[in-house]
Each structure stands twice: as structure tokens, then as C-alpha cells.
């Protein structure tokens, strides 16, 4: 009894692939792409576009995606902090840009650079960087909250208070545990 049923099952399964598409792809395509679950953000620095590719690692399994800075970016961020504190915001910005070249997908760096631009009065640019950080911070509420706060600050500095408040409340919602 089991065998015929199995045969029927397998035959039914096989039938499904007989319905061919009207257009055949040029080569026998067999790539069934795995479902696009949110690919986790790597916490290691992504490499700079400055060397040949050995083999990129496949996407790691889904995990809580709290962004962190790699060792090189951390050192640069520290340097930038000192430079900003020393009264040289342009230099701090240049140092943060160095860090961004190493980890362009790290929202924390975009937030920091945005904050640096805020300190020199470039509010629109700071806000744009906040939005950029937001785009990269999917799945990381802490980073998203920071981004919204930056966006809020930039809006308020430009006199757009209702929008600023909306941004702040989004930040608060995300930051709340």
C-alpha cells in the first residue's frame, strides 16, 4: 500500500514540472533563490574596494543585527572624536570618511558623520545622512533610533518642528525596550 502511494506522490510531484514556461532561459537555470529573509548585517568591517576578491562569505544565518564597529573603524572614530574635541570638525569629518570607506554599510558611521556635519551647521546634509543610516539599519532598533534622533535634530535646526517631533517620537518608540 505504501509503495503505490509513494509512486503516486512522486508522480504527482513530477507532474508539476511538466508545465514549461513559454520562454526558455538561455541556459538551464536551476537557481531557486532562498527566500529573501532579511540578510543579517555583518558586524565585521566590509573590505575596501582595494584588493582582489578571494571569495566572499555566504550570508551568515539570521541573527540579532546590532551594528558594531570593527577595530580599524573604531580607531578612526576615536581619532575623530579627539579631533572634534580639539576644535577641528573638518578634520574629524575627514577621519570619519576614512572609516566609511572601510565600512560603507555601517549605519553607526553615517550617524556619526551626520552628527559631525550637524556640528558645523550643515543640517540638511546631516539629515540626509540620518536617512541613509536608517536605510542601512533595518533590524537594528537601536541604530534606527539614533538615526531618527539625528533626523529630528536636523529638522528642528531648520525650523521644521512638527516633523522634528514626529521623528523624535519614532526614535523614542524604537528605543523603548
Amino acid at each position: 500500500m505504501v509503495l503505490p502511494t509513494l509512486a503516486v506522490v512522486l508522480a504527482a510531484a513530477g507532474c508539476g514540472s511538466l508545465i514549461g514556461p513559454p520562454y526558455e532561459p538561455p541556459a538551464p537555470a536551476q537557481t531557486v533563490r532562498p527566500p529573501a529573509t532579511p540578510a543579517p548585517q555583518t558586524t565585521a568591517p566590509s573590505q575596501t574596494p582595494q584588493s582582489p576578491l578571494p571569495a566572499p562569505a555566504p550570508a551568515p544565518p539570521p541573527a540579532p543585527r546590532e551594528h558594531r564597529l570593527g577595530a580599524a573603524a573604531t580607531a578612526l572614530v576615536e581619532q575623530a572624536r579627539k579631533q572634534a574635541a580639539g576644535g577641528d570638525p573638518q578634520l574629524a569629518q575627514a577621519t570619519l570618511e576614512r572609516a566609511l570607506r572601510i565600512e560603507p554599510d555601517n549605519p553607526l558611521l553615517w550617524i556619526m558623520l551626520g552628527e559631525a556635519h550637524e556640528s558645523t551647521g550643515q543640517y540638511a546634509l546631516a539629515g540626509s545622512m540620518g536617512h541613509k543610516a536608517l536605510q542601512l539599519a533595518t533590524g537594528d532598533p537601536r541604530a534606527q533610533a539614533q538615526a531618527w534622533r539625528l533626523i529630528g535634530d536636523s529638522l528642528r535646526a531648520r525650523g521644521r518642528n512638527p516633523e522634528a517631533n514626529a521623528a523624535y517620537s519614532r526614535a523614542d518608540t524604537l528605543a523603548a525596550p
Binding site: 512522486l10 504527482a12 510531484a13 508539476g16 514540472s17 508545465i19 514556461p21 513559454p22 520562454y23 532561459p25 541556459a27 537555470a29 536551476q30 537557481t31 531557486v32 533563490r33 532562498p34 527566500p35 529573501a36 529573509t37 532579511p38 540578510a39 543579517p40 548585517q41 565585521a44 568591517p45 566590509s46 573590505q47 575596501t48 574596494p49 582595494q50 582582489p52 576578491l53 578571494p54 571569495a55 566572499p56 562569505a57 550570508a59 570593527g70 577595530a71 580607531a75 573638518q90 578634520l91 569629518q93 575627514a94 577621519t95 570618511e97 566609511l100 570607506r101 572601510i102 560603507p104 554599510d105 558623520l113 540626509s128 545622512m129 536617512h131 541613509k132 536605510q135 533595518t138 533590524g139
Partner: protein, 774 residues
């Protein structure tokens, strides 16, 4: 007697007048020359540097790669024992460790003295960086590569060196050979002139020119190279004046920076600083005795003694120089013998870094802010975003692939080579990291990357699809009609474009129409969305002129340069954020003061979600569509996205695409706009995929936004499906609530789900077996 007396006074007066005139003349000439020499010094062209290579633990550079980068910067390998430190400008390998004597460097944001660095690599990546005291260094930059200079129209180029950058043997050699009494003479050497005359009369060959270094300096700096008697007199007067007013050290330094030492096309090489780079690829301070002697040999006549055209002649003179140095007790004989045994050691001209296409872009950028004179004379230091590795690779790949296409191409016309252009950027920051203007990258001519305006063909399509998605009426799974198009255009004619395959496929999902670049489906979509929307989308992404408002826009009859295409696609690669493309990072004055910075700027020009959907569809161009051949070249697992572009009649072949970190645009075609016969897939794509395979370091893997959801459809028909009823599934991001109809005959019961799982399992097993076979 009386006559004499009558003539005496007028003659005396005349003599006095003549003497007065002469004195005035001499005084004025002296004043002018001193004033000019003091005030102006010399014109300093802007020096242009590539982006410095940042080293840090985790960077995937193998030991071999690190060594290549050091060699690119003209570091020499030595075998100093472990007890000693490597000299500045050298490195040594000890096992998996490379010890480098890093040169002092000036960057856009700081200057750094020379220091030691120990680089350890393992399995293709840097694992450790330590300084001279053994402390860990988290990140360090190599000195930036000098890639050229912006020199004035009359073509003088130089690198100014300060006295402490000049090896002491150089002035010693110059004095020994050119002006033995330099330290004591008064600017001219009368005995020397006489001696030279005597020697010249006797031998007709050189031995001593008779001119002092000061005279040579005057000649080079002030006067044209005419050899008339009056010039000689002026030269003598001016030399004496200079010697009177300036120290010997000053004059020597001026000489070292001024003297003409070579010619490179329309670029005149002046000064030993640039000559050291030009002939030996090294800073002047790192030259060895034999190399110094070679440069001193060239002084006598840079074209007669051109070491690349007349190497044996130069070698002979170099050894003569060394002999002279021994005779004048400048160096011991043993040193001279050693030096004489060395080969000339001149680098090939192309070994040095000279990227005219990129320099062109830099020049254009700076001309907006600086008058020509400042650019070419003020000694500006220009720091750029050029990545020399990517640049070298792009040049090499373009040349190689075009040669291959030449061989393959049946309609090849002799004398009319197939040409191409490449632009590479880092879309997240807007850095322009490589520009290749043509097949012969070193040729400073027509720059196709910046000026080659060609029809972009299907490259326009992603912007049509973006406009469609932004309208809210379409998503990646929407069904559109790939049916024949017939539109009446201005002039009453009928426009009836066809698909490349000349077939129509009826109802197809949006993703398929884009991936396979179906013209008719796209035109139907575009006409529904409206040309204005499409044009608006192009403008937002950086098109700086009004797009044509006729339907042919939908098939890309707009003409753009590769750089402009890179600007447009940058916004797609960057998730809807436009960044201005920048070749220049910062400009400093000659003494290191920051003058201008070009910071990273982003500007949201489109909502993130529709752009994400378009990017996902562009990924399918590679996975399933016209970009599929790239998969055979790219490393397995690297996810990229892009679009082929073919203009009508196959005149232009394009590919524009991106990974996680790089965007590259490639154009292939003929300069005279004849039919090239290549589609984007057969012409530009091979160049693009080989380049990407070399340089791309991360996949395009932006996470699915919270505001979108995934849906799995049958690629061919667009129906929602699962493995039980489709062998070609694709999962795409769509707005929430998007629910394509289920494919007819697709089981949805639990039983069906089980079948689906079993089927999927079997498919996966099949794939695994297949991959084992590779």
C-alpha cells in the same frame, strides 16, 4: 696733434658716455635678475596623488598583494638582517611578515613622518600590524602614489626638493663634473671658459662646457637657448649678479630644481626631483650613487643623453662622471667601481604611474575653482580618490577583452580599432576610483569616459521601471503586456520597435521584462507611466539636461558619457541616495595648508522601497536575464546587479552594474559610430564581469526593508507559485498586501505543501550533486 686734442675731449666724453650706458645696462640687468630670482623662484605645477592604501587587520591582501602595492610605490626589497631596521623606502620579507621602512607622507588631512611597519598576513589577509616598538597599529596608510601633475601649457613639470631631500653626493657630483670651482667662483669662470675653448678647438668633443652652474641656471631660467655672443654676455652679467646676491647653497638648490633633464611628449622634465621619479620611479633622496651619476650625465644634453633612446651612450658618460668624481676625490675608487658595474636601471616609462584620463577629470574639476595659473604654478597638492589597483586592472581588462573581441568579430575593419571606456566608482561615497578613456590608456587624447557621448539604449530601462513602481500602480510581480508596439510619432510616421529576439511573449511579470530587456513590454509600460515621469526620474538621479520627450526615450536614444551613466546608476546602487561623483578629495597649498575639501555628500532623491525593488530586479538581470553570462566569470556566491545596454543597430554596447562596494560602467563601440555588432551582453559585459571578478569584495546584500515583504513567483508567468508547480521560482520584494494570483494547478493544500517540500528537497539534492561535480 691738434686733431688729436680736438678729438680727445669728444672721445673721452663718448667713452665716458659709453661706459655710463654700459654700467647702467649692467646694473639694471642685475637688478632685474635678482628681483625675478628672489620673487618668483619657479612655477610649481600641481601635484596629483591617488588615494592612499589603508592597511588594517582583516583587509584581504595576501603577502604577494602587499608586496605588489609596495612595489607600485617604488619600495625596494632588501635583505637587511633582522637586527637592522629597513631603510626608508625599502622592505624585507621574513616568513609571513613584511617589514617596511615607510616613507614620510603627506595626506589630505595630515602629514606623517617616516616610520617602520611590520605587516603580517595569513591565508590571504592581513592579520597584524605593528610599529617599531612592537605595538599594535589598528590602521595605517601607505604613502599616496603620485599619479601626475598639472603643468602649464608650455609644458614645464617639476617636483621641488628642499635641501634636506637632496643626497649630498648630487651637489658634489655636479661640482666635480660641471663646475669645479663653483664654491669659489664669482658666477663665471674666465679660466674655465678659456680652457674649454682650448679643449673644444683641439678635440671637437665635450669635456668641459665652460659654463658654471650659475650660468647654466641663468640660461635655463631666464634665457632662450640661443648661442649668440650678446646672449653670452648677458648670461655672464646675470650669473655674476646672482652670485653676488645669493648664497652658493641657494644657487645650488635652485639649479637642482630648475635644470632641464628630459622630455615626455609635451611635458618637459625639470629638476632632479622629478627626474628621479621619471627615470627611476623613486624619490630623489633614495637614489644610489650610480643613479645620481646617471642624472648628472644627462645634464649635458637631455635629448642627446636620453637614457631610454641612447642607453649605451648614457652608460658611457655615467661611468665617465664616476671617474671624474674619483679624480676630484668626491668618492673612493671602490665605490665608483661598484657603481660602474651596475646596469643603467632606468624604469620603463609606463611603469611609472601616469593616468591621463583620470588627470583630465581632476583638471576639469579644479578648473571650476582655480584659475589656470594657480593650477599650474602655485604648487598645489591635490589628493584624489583614484584606486591604482582598480585603475590598473580596468585598463588591463579593457585592453585584453577588446583584443579578444577584435579576433572574434567578423566585421573587423583594419585601421579602425574597436574602442571602449570604463568608469569605476564607490557608489556609497561617490568616489570616482578609476577612469579609462580608451583602449590605449596611457595615451593622452580623446577621453571616451568623460567625453564619449553615446546612445545608452536599454540602460535607460531601470528608470522607466522605477517610475512605474513609484506610481504605486506596479510592483515587481505586476503583469505587463509584451505585445507589438505601434506608436504614431511626430511627423506622422509609425514607430514599431521590436524585441531583440523579434518575438513577443504576451503577459510577463515586470521583473522578467526588465531582466530580459523586452523592448515592447517596456515601451508599453513607459507609455502608460508617461514620458514626463520617466524624464523626471532620470533628472532626479543626476541627468543634467532635459531628456527628449519622445517615445524613443524609452529605448534610450538619449546620449550620455560613461561618467554620466555612472552618476545615474550610482543612485540606484546607493538605494535612492544620490552622491555627487568626486575625483578630488582635497586640495592643499604648496606648504600643506588645506584649501578646499570635497566631502562625501548624500541626498535622498527617491524613496528607498521602489529603488530596492528595482535593484532586486537588476539582480535578476544577472541571475536570469541578459547579464547571465557574467555568472560564468564572477566568483560563486558574489551577488551583483546591473543592466545591459544596446543602442539601435548595435552601435553601442554598454553594461552598468554594481556589487556591494563598486559600481562599474563599460562602453564598447567604434569612434566613428559605425555598427559594432555587439550587444551589451556580448561586448561590454565580458569587460565588466572580468573587472568585477577582480575587484569586487562584497555582495550587494542590502537587507529587505521593514516596509516591504517577500513574495515567490514563477519567473516566466508571474503567478505566485511554489516548488511543486514551478521549476523556476524567484523571490522578490513587493509592497505589503501584494498577492499575485496563484499559478493554475499549483497545490495549496497541506498535501500539496508536503509535495512541494519533497520536490524542493529533491531539487536541492540535485543542485548539491551538480555543485559537487564542479
Amino acid at each position: 696733434m691738434k686733431l688729436l686734442r680736438r678729438l680727445l675731449i669728444p672721445v673721452l666724453l663718448l667713452a665716458a658716455a659709453g661706459g655710463a650706458v654700459a654700467t647702467v645696462y649692467v646694473l639694471r640687468l642685475s637688478q632685474t635678475v635678482v628681483h625675478q630670482f628672489e620673487g618668483r623662484r619657479w612655477t610649481l605645477p600641481a601635484q596629483v596623488y591617488a588615494a592612499p592604501l589603508e592597511l588594517y587587520a582583516g583587509l584581504p591582501l595576501s603577502e604577494k598583494d602587499v608586496e605588489s602595492e609596495l612595489k607600485r610605490l617604488a619600495y625596494r626589497r632588501t635583505d637587511t638582517p633582522q637586527s637592522a631596521e629597513p631603510k626608508t623606502g625599502t622592505y624585507r620579507r621574513i616568513g609571513a611578515r613584511i617589514d617596511v621602512g615607510l616613507r614620510a607622507a603627506r595626506f589630505a588631512d595630515q602629514a606623517r613622518p617616516a616610520e617602520l611597519l611590520a605587516i603580517t598576513t595569513s591565508e590571504g589577509a592581513i592579520t597584524d600590524l605593528r610599529d617599531a616598538l612592537g605595538r599594535e597599529v589598528p590602521i595605517v596608510r601607505l604613502d599616496p602614489l603620485l599619479i601626475g601633475s598639472i603643468f602649464p601649457i608650455h609644458g614645464e613639470d617639476r617636483i621641488v626638493v628642499t635641501p634636506d631631500e637632496v643626497p649630498p653626493l648630487l651637489p658634489a657630483a655636479l661640482k666635480a663634473v660641471e663646475d669645479r670651482n663653483f664654491d669659489t667662483n664669482r658666477g663665471i669662470d674666465v679660466l674655465g671658459i678659456l680652457r674649454a675653448l682650448w679643449v673644444d678647438i683641439r678635440a671637437g668633443e665635450w669635456q668641459q662646457g665652460g659654463s658654471t652652474l650659475t650660468q647654466q641656471l641663468v640660461r635655463s631660467y631666464f634665457l632662450s637657448p640661443q648661442r649668440t655672443a650678446s646672449r653670452k654676455i648677458r648670461e655672464a652679467i646675470m650669473a655674476v649678479a646672482l652670485d653676488e646676491h645669493f648664497s652658493k647653497a641657494d644657487l645650488m638648490n635652485a639649479y637642482i630644481n630648475e635644470i632641464h633633464l628630459g622630455q615626455d611628449g609635451n611635458r618637459a622634465i625639470h629638476g632632479f626631483g622629478l627626474a628621479a621619479e621619471f627615470y627611476f620611479g623613486k624619490p630623489l633622496s633614495e637614489l644610489d650613487l650610480d643613479e645620481i651619476a646617471t642624472l648628472v650625465a644627462i645634464v649635458r644634453g637631455p635629448s642627446y643623453y636620453d637614457p631610454r633612446r641612447h642607453p649605451s651612450r648614457v652608460l658611457k658618460r655615467r661611468n665617465l662622471v664616476l671617474d671624474e668624481m674619483v679624480e676630484q676625490h668626491v668618492i673612493p675608487e671602490s665605490d665608483a667601481r661598484l657603481a660602474q658595474a651596475q646596469p643603467l636601471g632606468i624604469t620603463s616609462k609606463t611603469a611609472g604611474a601616469y593616468y591621463p584620463a583620470y588627470l583630465d577629470l581632476v583638471r576639469r574639476t579644479l578648473r571650476r575653482d582655480y584659475p589656470e595659473q594657480d593650477l599650474t604654478e602655485a604648487g598645489l597638492e591635490v589628493f584624489t580618490n583614484l584606486d591604482p589597483r582598480v585603475q590598473a586592472d580596468a585598463e588591463h581588462v579593457l585592453d585584453r577583452e577588446l583584443a579578444r573581441l577584435d579576433r572574434v568579430h567578423k566585421q573587423r575593419v583594419p585601421g579602425a580599432p574597436l574602442e571602449g571606456a570604463v568608469v569605476v566608482t564607490a557608489p556609497q561615497s561617490g568616489d570616482v576610483i578609476a577612469v579609462v578613456g580608451g583602449r590605449d590608456a596611457g595615451y593622452d587624447g580623446f577621453d571616451r569616459a568623460l567625453d564619449g557621448r553615446r546612445q545608452i539604449g536599454s540602460l535607460v530601462k531601470p528608470f522607466i521601471y522605477l517610475a512605474a513602481l513609484e506610481s504605486g500602480r506596479y510592483n515587481a510581480t505586476s503583469i505587463i503586456q509584451d505585445q507589438p508596439v505601434s506608436i504614431r510619432v511626430a511627423g506622422g510616421k509609425l514607430w514599431q520597435p521590436e524585441n531583440f529576439t523579434r518575438e513577443n511573449y504576451g503577459p510577463v511579470p515586470l521583473v522578467r521584462a526588465l531582466a530580459e530587456s523586452l523592448n515592447d513590454a517596456t515601451v508599453n509600460l513607459g507609455m502608460d507611466i508617461g514620458l514626463e515621469s520617466v524624464g523626471h526620474s532620470l533628472e532626479r538621479f543626476g541627468l543634467d539636461r532635459a531628456p527628449p520627450q519622445n517615445p524613443s526615450l524609452l529605448l534610450g536614444t538619449v546620449e550620455l558619457t560613461p561618467l554620466e551613466v555612472a552618476q545615474l546608476y550610482g543612485g540606484l546602487a546607493n538605494g535612492g541616495f544620490r552622491t555627487t561623483l568626486r575625483a578630488v578629495r582635497a586640495v592643499l597649498s604648496a606648504d600643506g595648508k588645506p584649501l578646499k575639501a570635497f566631502p562625501v555628500e548624500v541626498d535622498a532623491v527617491a524613496q528607498a522601497d521602489p529603488v530596492y525593488e528595482v535593484d532586486s530586479m537588476l539582480e535578476q538581470v544577472i541571475e536570469r536575464g541578459t547579464g547571465r553570462p557574467a555568472l560564468g566569470v564572477l566568483p560563486r556566491g558574489l551577488i551583483v546587479a546591473g543592466k545591459t545596454g544596446t543602442s539601435s543597430d548595435l552601435r553601442d554596447s554598454w553594461f552598468a552594474g554594481f556589487s556591494g562596494d563598486d559600481l562599474a560602467v563599460v562602453w564598447v563601440g567604434y569612434d566613428d559610430d559605425r555598427v559594432a555588432g555587439f550587444t551589451g551582453e556580448t561586448g561590454a559585459l565580458p569587460v565588466w564581469s572580468h573587472l568585477m571578478a577582480d575587484i569586487a569584495m562584497s555582495s550587494w546584500n542590502v537587507p529587505l526593508p521593514d516596509t516591504l515583504q517577500s513574495v515567490t513567483i514563477d519567473y516566466a508567468t508571474g503567478f505566485r507559485a511554489n516548488a511543486a508547480c514551478s521549476s523556476d521560482l524567484v523571490t522578490l520584494p513587493v509592497p505589503p498586501g501584494t498577492n499575485p494570483p496563484l499559478k493554475p494547478g499549483c497545490p495549496t493544500t497541506a498535501f500539496g505543501a508536503v509535495i512541494g517540500s519533497v520536490h524542493e528537497l529533491m531539487q536541492r539534492a540535485g543542485q548539491w550533486l551538480q555543485s559537487m561535480a564542479h
